[in-house]
């Protein structure tokens, strides 16, 4: 199984994602520079965290125009699993591959801390191995993670079960105090309509080894490996993503 880790100028979690895929999971991994247009037969695409193009104008706004993004969009349209982490999530939002937008954190502070997120749905490639309601302790590191969409869009996300992760307390309860940035509906991560494109603000790649303080993020990478092995989702081979199991 091969992971493509897209590298934008200003990405700074690309090596962590590569390490998680290659060294922790023992899968193949390759960096793909943003000016390239070929995903080199990858089965999974990761848009890593960082500050792509300096976050000029808006977070993720410039990365959307990088040549590789057209290929990523085509890969996603074919059902290929795409995982946007933090800044990668912001890039997916700006690219229109996921709905909504990010605002500055409601307290205007850059938050760098471990938080808890609850897995809301397991029928995505990146939550395939999770339990519904499972609480993961994963770090966040962002200044603009305050998810916004119009109430009608939020209602649609709820109805379509596209909210995949919510900020909760350690017990898995949604509380205002557990929401680190003011995100609407406590959204920490969501997926597209076809469920193969997932964005998540916290950093699972920073929570894959005990030395890093948590191993809870590892299951998200293991999920996509299992999901692809199970044959229910397609990568670059062109298979169409189907809803993989029921939540």
């Amino acid at each position: 199984m091969k992971f493509a880790v897209v590298v934008f100028p200003g990405s700074n979690c690309d090596e962590d994602a590569y390490h998680a895929a290659k060294d922790v999971l023992g899968q193949r991994a390759e960096y793909i520079w943003h000016k390239e247009t070929d995903l080199k037969n990858a089965d999974v695409v990761i848009l890593p965290g960082g500050f792509a193009h300096g976050d000029y104008l808006r977070t993720g706004a410039m990365a959307r125009f990088s040549p590789i993004m057209r290929t990523v969009a085509a890969f996603a349209a074919q059902g290929g699993p795409v995982f946007g982490i933090c800044n990668g999530f912001q890039v997916l939002l700006e690219s229109g591959l996921l709905p909504g937008a990010m605002l500055r954190n409601r307290d205007l502070k850059f938050h760098c801390e471990h938080v808890h997120v609850r897995v809301e749905q397991t029928d995505t490639p990146f939550t395939f191995a999770c339990r519904r309601g499972q609480v993961l302790r994963i770090p966040i590191a962002h200044g603009e993670g305050n998810y916004f969409a119009e109430p009608a869009v939020i209602a649609q996300l709820e109805a379509n079960r596209q909210i995949i992760f919510r900020y909760t307390d350690a017990a898995g309860k949604v509380t205002d105090a557990a929401n680190p940035n003011g995100s609407a509906a406590a959204i920490a991560g969501l997926c597209n309509d076809a469920r193969n494109v997932v964005g998540l603000m916290p950093h699972p790649e920073r929570a894959c080894e005990a030395a890093l303080g948590s191993v809870d993020g590892r299951i998200l990478f293991e999920s996509v490996v299992e999901a692809l092995k199970s044959g229910t989702i397609g990568g670059s081979k062109g298979a169409v993503m189907q809803t993989i199991g029921s939540a």
Binding site: R58, A61, L108, A149
Partner: protein
């Protein structure tokens, strides 16, 4: 011609920066300032002498890049 594009958060979107600035002004004693909305300002130098054309071009780039329609709206001035 020159186009000026003013991008602001939509009225329905909470602006934490504007709120913080308003709070700061209130703490400075400017009780006459009810609210503040923060935005972005762009000056575009355009190689056209047609105002309508300049406005259309500015609107196109605002739609495509300068503003994110999910959270922002914009206003254009041309001269």
């Amino acid at each position: 011609m020159r186009a000026r594009v003013f991008v602001t958060l939509k009225p329905s979107v909470f602006d934490p920066q504007g709120k913080t600035i308003a709070d700061a002004l209130h703490s400075l004693g400017y009780g006459g300032v009810d609210d503040v909305r923060q935005g972005k300002y762009f000056e575009l130098d355009l190689n056209t002498t047609e105002a309508a054309q300049a406005r259309a071009l500015a609107a196109e780039v605002a739609d495509k890049l300068l503003a994110n329609p999910v959270i922002e709206s914009y206003r254009i001035e041309v001269d």
